[in-house]
Amino acid sequence: MQRERRLRVMVAKPGLDGHDRGARIIARAFRDGGFEVIYTGLHQTPEEIVEAAIQEDVDMIGLSSLAGAHMYLFPRVVDLLKEKGADDIVVCGGGIIPEEDIPRLKEAGIKEIFTPGSPLTEIVQWVRENVKARSE
């Protein structure tokens, strides 16, 4: 029987926004939750994020944005993954995301959006239930 490997999750900050408090907290919560965590650091283009995600063979990308550019940046990551044939990587997002943008983001292929006030334990639990390790 194949041993289930630990989930590999990437926490990424697309765009020029520097508010990384949430992203860094989430990265720690994922680590404490038993996942392998890759944090990209700030100021990444969608292209850089997708390339790193494929190289690192992650199972999920968590995007964080607080500066209002999510409607461009988040779908762009999903599209690029599709282009590279890596759309089995789950993409979710978090940050300052107005409620009415959420359905549009989900239509664009973002699996889930976590807004301010989401408890860390809930987010970790969601990942456990909704993200499967990609086949090796």
């Binding site: 520097g18 408090r21 209002g68 107005p98 006030g117 860390l120």
Partner: protein
């Protein structure tokens, strides 16, 4: 110096307190205390009661004194708000320069007494709107400024010779300031007559806010250029606003906010002295920027401690002689990070409490956050309510009628002493590392803040700390809140505008200006005049910043968590 409290009375008090404690234990043994542990937002344990015993080593004249006198615990001015209220300076910036100009006119008409500009992310990072890196960001969390024309549109019809302007700008601060000076001069106003503030605090960017361009060392050099230039050429300008605000927003405690901010101030002072400037020539134009978080007494104590600490640092450490160098003058913003997306109208109440703490702490200038700030850029209506909050505090509540109203409160005095002591301890640690630049390179403040932020979040998750509407008193009901939408069309229009200016200008002249600026950068000459020449020739923000990036290199986020 004699201590304020008489020792004999103190022993009597001690006995009184012991007696009361015994009685209290009995009460609590029958019916336990409401919480296992009472603590501030920064998780500082708070005692059941504070008495003169908690401030027994304080001396009134040495530690508290009168407003306008060293160590300025009670305020830098003798009159404080009895003379003039604080400046109501609402932070605004959205869309294009013309959109923001309309908001400025509205706020001035509503009674605001100073301007404060928020720039969008590309501007903050030194990119033009037409840069591929700027896609999707134009005008989103501030105004887009690419060229001098944008700066002129931004301040169209506003009396900049009378009204002071604060600009929240950091890596490209010399460029944005250069544009402001150029705009004034094009209007026939001398640079000697304009007043305002550029944030220009790069050290806190590496620690907290994370908009950066060049590495720490050349960043510090550019700041020193602005300090030197301001001292000689633009005497009414605050060339730097040393900011704890973002340190707190990134999750620090109140003590960390105090310590890291003042340590940054020490680093800037040392750099300017090293440049050959006399401390009293520039220190009076340093200003500060603090956060006002939710813990009412801790915040008031923080502001009082900050004033006393800076006065001591300036007088004792840097031997400044001009009392104005000892003054810690500060702007305050209520804590954006304390606002909740859930039940957003509660944010009005949070902001009111935070504003009240800032005023009771003696701030010179205040921005109150809007209730929708956690969701998007404020609507005009929400921004007006936030401004009205200040006006009600100022003119209806009566709190501005007496100076330092909580001076002498056992609790507030004890907290002021504690915060000062602990913050000086951290500053000593930073000194031992070789100063703030070295501490940042060792990731020390960054790591401390990340630890504190994680600790705070876990306390909320585990319900050890209540956030109304988030982990207690929650409701499924959604109140409708109007959200300001920034039109996507805006980006296209701004790109067109910038490209039109690039086509119409004298490109040869722009190139020459940028080359001369490059030489000044590598040579060590003060860059400011070269920047002003370049922007007057309509060099763009990014073109000037690209010169910095080429000479000094770019800084990349180390990505630690």
């Amino acid at each position: 110096m004699a201590l304020t409290y008489n020792q004999e009375i103190m022993s009597e008090l001690k006995r009184g307190e012991e007696k009361w404690s015994e009685k209290l234990e009995q009460v609590f043994s029958e019916r336990p205390e409401r919480l296992k542990r009472f603590s501030t937002v920064s998780d500082r344990e708070i005692r059941r009661i504070y008495t003169p015993l908690d401030v027994k080593s304080q001396d009134f004249s040495r530690d508290i004194g009168f407003p306008g006198s060293y160590p300025f615990t009670r305020g830098v001015q003798p009159s404080m708000y009895r003379g003039r209220l604080w400046t109501m300076r609402m932070f605004a910036g959205l869309g294009t320069a013309k959109d923001t100009n309309r908001r400025f006119h509205h706020l001035v008409k509503a009674g605001q007494t100073g301007l404060s500009t928020a720039f969008d992310m590309p501007t903050l990072m030194g990119y033009d709107t037409d840069s591929p890196k700027a896609r999707g960001e134009c005008g989103k969390c501030g105004v887009a400024i690419d060229t001098l024309v944008d700066m002129e549109d931004l301040f169209e019809g506003l009396p900049i010779e009378r009204i002071t302007t604060s600009m929240t700008i950091n890596p490209p601060a010399p460029v944005i300031w250069g544009m402001y000076i150029a705009m004034a001069e094009n209007r026939g106003i001398s640079r000697k007559d304009i007043g305002g503030t550029i944030q220009n605090d790069m050290l806190k960017e590496f620690i907290a806010q994370k908009t950066f361009m060049c590495p720490p060392k050349p960043s510090l050099r550019l700041i020193t250029d602005t300090v030197e230039f301001g001292t000689k050429e633009v005497p009414k300008w605050n060339t730097i606003s040393i900011s704890g605000y973002h340190i707190r927003e990134a999750g620090s405690t109140a003590v960390q906010e105090l310590a890291f901010t003042l340590a940054d101030g020490i680093a800037y002072t040392e750099a300017a002295i090293e440049r050959g400037l006399d401390v009293d020539s520039f220190a009076p134009r340093f200003s500060f920027f603090f956060n006002s978080h939710l813990d009412f007494f801790e915040e008031i104590a923080k502001f009082r401690a900050a004033r006393r600490m800076w006065a001591k640092i300036m007088k004792e450490r840097f031997k400044a002689k001009d009392p104005r160098s000892w003054w810690l003058r500060f702007h305050t913003q209520t804590a954006g990070c304390s606002l909740t997306a859930q039940q957003p109208y509660n944010n009005i109440v949070r902001t009111t409490l935070e504003a009240l703490a800032a005023v009771m702490g003696g701030t010179q200038s205040l921005h109150t956050n809007s209730l929708d700030e956690v969701l998007a850029i404020p609507t005009e209506e929400a921004a007006t309510i936030a401004l009205r909050t200040q006006q009600i505090i100022a003119e209806e509540s009566g709190v501005a009628n007496t100076i330092d109203p909580l001076g002498g409160s056992y609790l507030v005095e004890a907290l002021t002493d504690q915060l000062e002591e602990e913050a000086f301890e951290i500053i000593r640690k930073i000194d031992d590392m070789g100063g703030m630049l070295a501490a940042i390179e060792r990731n020390y403040p960054q790591q401390e803040i990340a630890d504190a932020a994680y600790h705070y979040q876990k306390q909320i998750d585990e319900k050890e700390r209540t956030v109304v509407g988030v982990n207690k008193y929650t409701s499924e009901e959604r109140l409708p809140v109007e959200i300001l939408e920034i039109d996507e069309e805006l980006e296209r229009l701004q790109i067109e505008k910038t490209q039109r200016i690039k086509n119409d200008r004298d490109n040869k002249r722009v190139r020459e200006c940028l080359e001369r600026l490059g030489e000044a950068c590598s040579g060590g000459e003060n860059v400011m005049e070269f920047i002003i020449d370049a922007v007057k020739a309509h060099a763009t923000l990014q073109e000037v910043c690209d010169v910095f990036r080429a000479v000094f290199g770019e800084y990349r986020d180390p990505g630690t968590y």
